[in-house]
């Protein structure tokens, strides 16, 4: 019931917004919807029995193995919680960054939420794929019509690039489904039961992994990301980086690792080095970015590289850390982007070179930025530290040099984040006209985000416990292999 509500409530609200077009009330309506969804998702968590749950299970298109199977385990639940908790903030950002035609904008965002819930609740590969591609559609429109400079070129490029990955995934999945015993089934259970030959796994790995590598993205599939994140409207970037990229992470866990474990074993060192190399590469590039939002985009790329590396360490610490970091990264990115929006609104520019001394006028905003920043540089007792610590341990147990290279990102992160903070907030008065300090709304937005990052940094137990069983179960595939 609750799960169905998650998919239907945002969908219904979105359709209502689209039909009735209550432009004036659109934001409040969308906010109400996401808040209810957030409560629902927390209820779902509270009622989680500790083992995988299947809610809906019925045939749809049996000829191709497509069945309507919805359910969740601990990992999926984490993703549902993430989607449920982050969307109020994504909608909330619209109250400050007002876009034209709010009814349509919020409808698009809510459609995206609904489809994302679908992605994480689907227990059938084709169903997953449908939601996976559907989720892209509202974001595509958001970018195309509300984006910044060069929005058409960048959006189309982004869309086609991810679609290309999607096609590869579809091909891979279809091929897998054909390997299942007749009548074909695309259910996760059926796919996970496949025992494919080693040769097959080596190429199939890339067919499945490519889509997710682009979605995350990791080096060298990342080049669409900085432009897209920078050009997109703030809320669009939040959806893309906050939630959608976690589909990549989730997809790797659901498809790549269980279906082609030998492929993973064969390719994982390459993938880890690409990920860590990309994390360092993005961290180095972030340092000298002139545009605040682009700097955040590169920083996100750096964090995601680390996340993928942690995942492919393929032990309890690495996988749990990567999943934990997925949540942390969403909270962090949304917070940082909000700060970008708040600063840009006040200074009238996104150019770091033209900023400075803002703290003199806006000490509260500076304090809030600092509290978000400590999560960005993964100081202990923030969420990010828990994730990074686990990932470093995971990598360390796999290969010490990888852990060393990964740990170097904590230096690069400190360099670019503190530099950005200084450029925006510190230094002498830039002589701009007076601007307002963070107001009640800003606090209402950022304080809960900061609270989440601190509470889950001090007491990560509930989330880690949620992951324990499914991660262990997944890793058993590996143990069985050895």
């Amino acid at each position: 019931m609750l799960l169905a509500a998650l998919l239907l409530l945002p969908f219904a609200t979105a359709t209502l917004l689209l039909v009735a077009r209550p432009e004036a009330q659109a934001r409040m309506l969308a906010m109400a919807s996401t808040l209810v969804t957030a409560v629902v998702v927390l209820l779902l968590w509270a009622g989680y029995p500790g083992t995988a749950v299947t809610v809906v299970d019925r045939d749809w298109a049996p000829a191709i193995g497509l069945r309507l199977v919805l359910g969740y385990d601990g990992i999926a639940l984490l993703m549902l919680v993430l989607t449920g908790l982050i969307f109020p903030f994504i909608i909330g950002a619209g109250f400050k960054q007002q876009l034209d035609r709010p009814a349509t904008v919020n409808a698009l965002l809510l459609y995206a939420q609904s489809f994302l819930f679908g992605v994480f609740a689907a227990q059938n590969a084709f169903l997953f794929y449908i939601f996976y591609e559907l989720a892209l559609v509202p974001v595509f429109f958001l970018l195309l019509f509300w984006g910044g400079e060069h929005r058409r070129t960048i959006t189309v490029r982004f869309f086609l690039y991810t679609l290309l990955g999607g096609l590869s995934l579809l091909f891979g999945l279809a091929w897998c489904v054909l390997q299942t015993p007749a009548p074909y089934s695309a259910d996760f259970t059926a796919l996970h039961a496949l025992r494919l030959g080693t040769d097959v796994q080596l190429w199939l790995f890339w067919a499945l992994f490519l889509a997710f590598a682009i979605k995350l993205p990791i080096f060298p599939f990342h080049s669409w990301q900085p432009d897209t994140y920078t050009m997109a409207p703030l809320q669009g970037t939040m959806v893309l980086g906050g939630v959608m990229l976690k589909m990549g992470l989730y997809g790797i866990l659901r498809f790549v690792m269980p279906i082609v474990p030998e492929g993973v074993l064969f390719w994982r060192d390459l993938v880890i080095w690409l990920s860590i190399g990309g994390a360092l590469y993005a961290g180095a590039i972030a340092f000298r970015q002139r545009e605040f939002k682009r700097l955040v985009a590169w920083s996100s790329l750096s964090h995601v590289g680390l996340l993928c590396a942690g995942l492919f360490a393929w032990n309890s610490y690495g996988v749990s850390g990567a999943l934990y970091q997925a949540l942390a990264h969403a909270v962090l990115l949304v917070g940082l982007l909000y700060i970008v929006g708040a600063v840009t609104a006040r200074t009238g520019t996104g150019d770091l070179g033209a900023m400075g001394g803002l703290k003199l006028r806006t000490p509260r905003l500076a304090a809030l930025f600092m509290l978000v920043l400590v999560n960005a540089v993964a100081l202990p007792l923030t969420q990010s530290f828990v994730g990074e610590w686990l990932m470093f341990n995971g990598l360390w147990q796999h290969n010490g040099w990888m852990a060393f290279a990964a740990a170097c990102t904590i230096v690069l992160g400190a360099i670019y984040m503190l530099w950005a903070y200084q450029r925006v907030m510190l230094g002498p008065d830039s002589g701009r006209p007076a601007v307002a300090d963070a107001d009640r709304d800003d606090h209402l937005y950022l304080v809960p985000l900061i609270a989440i990052s601190l509470v889950l940094g001090v007491y990560p137990g509930p989330v880690l416990d949620l992951l324990e069983a499914p991660v262990q179960q997944m890793l058993n595939t590996l143990t069985a292999l050895n």
């Binding site: 409808a107 828990v386 686990l390």
Partner: protein, 630 residues
Amino acid sequence: MVSAQLLAPLVPALPLAGAVIIAALRRRLSGHAAGLLATALIGGAFLCSVLLFLGFDPAGGAQVAHLFDWIRVADMRIGLAFQVDALSLTMMLIVTGVGTLIHLYSIGYMHDDPRQSTFFALLNLFTFAMLLLVMGANYAVTFIGWEGVGLCSYLLIGFWYTNPAYNYAARKAFVMNRIGDVGFVLGLALVFQVFGTLDYTTVMERADTFATGAPALTAITLLLFVGAIGKSAQLPLFTWLPDAMAGPTPVSALIHAATMVTAGIFLLVRSSALFVLAPLTQDVVLYTGLVTALCAATIGVFQNDIKKVLAYSTVSQLGYMFVALGLGAFSAGLFHVTTHAFFKALLFLGAGSVIHALGGEQDIRRMGGLRSATPSTYRTFLVGTLAIAGIFPLSGFFSKDAILAHAYQYGPWIYALLVAGAVLTTYYMFRLLFLVFFGSYRGQAHPHESPAVMTAPLWVLAVLSVVGGALNLPHLFGGHEPMKHFLATAASGVGLEHLHLSALLEWSLMGFSTALVLLTIWIAYGRFAKQATLDPEADALPVPQRWAARKWYLDELYERLFEKPYGWLSTNLSALLEQRVMQPLMVGVGGTAERIGELLRRVQTGNLSTYLFAMVAGLLLFLFLTLNGL
């Protein structure tokens, strides 16, 4: 007596509460009230520490107060837990005791700063983090504090944030510390891999199962030492500490002299059971400390900023402590941490009082003759100077002598170099004393003595600097090295060190170094007290003095080797590799697809609603048909 289980968490909780309350109420609370509250809470933490100390039974071993499991994944169980034992108690008393005095002093020093409340909130937050660092029952809790003090250090160095140079100094401190932290984090990962836990008691117990020189232990200790190098400002990562003097002077006293910078020494003493089994690391520690001690001392001789002289002196003294640890004389190292906390905090606060008296002047060439204008500051500063020079019977004499004696036993030439360092220390410290307080005033301000709220802490620290030696009085003077025996109950590496020198030899060594120090004072008196010999600018000095005055060009070296190339790399990775290679590659891949996009554009009508309706309608139709039809 309240149980340690309740009292121990209260110690860090009080300053944390202070930080939170002051931050939350900073608009309603006057700066003065914030200062009083902050001081009261840290004073409360000091009282709790004293109670814990009085109720502590060294024979009973460590008491652990486990709050809850912090990180719990598979076999990894990391508790948020505090450990009360001889080592943490020693550090707690230093941190809260000296901390209380510095908080009190700050009420006077910061009284006309508009952001006084913020200052006290941060100072309290720092104390909280520092207490976590020393009280942690496992490496992870220590690391929480380790990073926390780094953040507070960053925020306090850049406290006056409108000055870009200060902001740069703050970032430099944080980033250089982070470089060390890479080693620390990996060290922890290795500890966990090797021992399966991060709890100090278990790790130290299991250390015995390893043979001396076991590669795992060597690797762990080297990695931990990399962390210590960053935090405790040793070569090659010490250049942030002198720049950190940009912060308000009480910050320099508390963070960059008495407490935070000694965290590296604390970490090594905490891990002493591992270090005694890693002779290779011990040597690395020894020589790093030795070279740093001498290098910083030579730079200190040519500084003209009152705080910079003290900063290089701190780096140099930290070097001495590491030498002690490298020699295996852990208790001697921690003894020097203690006495140094007294006299260096005293010297910094004295310097602050001078700066306060002169309205912000920091250049000793524009000081002089302050003996009469600031009598309390002068007398206490004199005590501090005598203590750091190691004049009998002040505390510095005993703690330094312990290190020197161990050095002689290990190798006379190390002893000789350390004595040379001590001579340099005496020289630059007395140069400072004489240039500031003797002769005639060379500036334009109107010097005045600081208020009692500032001088009272000076006197307390002066008394401690005098009598602090009693804490670990050696046999030679009728003592029983109480601190060493106390610490030996906590760190199994402590207490292994033994001096086998004859009493006659010890007396001669002491006499030798004391004679040299006295001679140095006499020379400094001639050069700086009678008539002030002012050094010209660094460029006018002959080589090699110019090199030392230019900090051996380390900052320039790092700028050329790392800062500039990294900036260049960042710019060019973006401009060349990303723009010229990665982007076109993507466009190329997408190019084929883009042609498909052309088709898409043809059906484009430009009306978004049409698309959306089409999308939703199609979806609903699809759902309806399939659910019903199949």
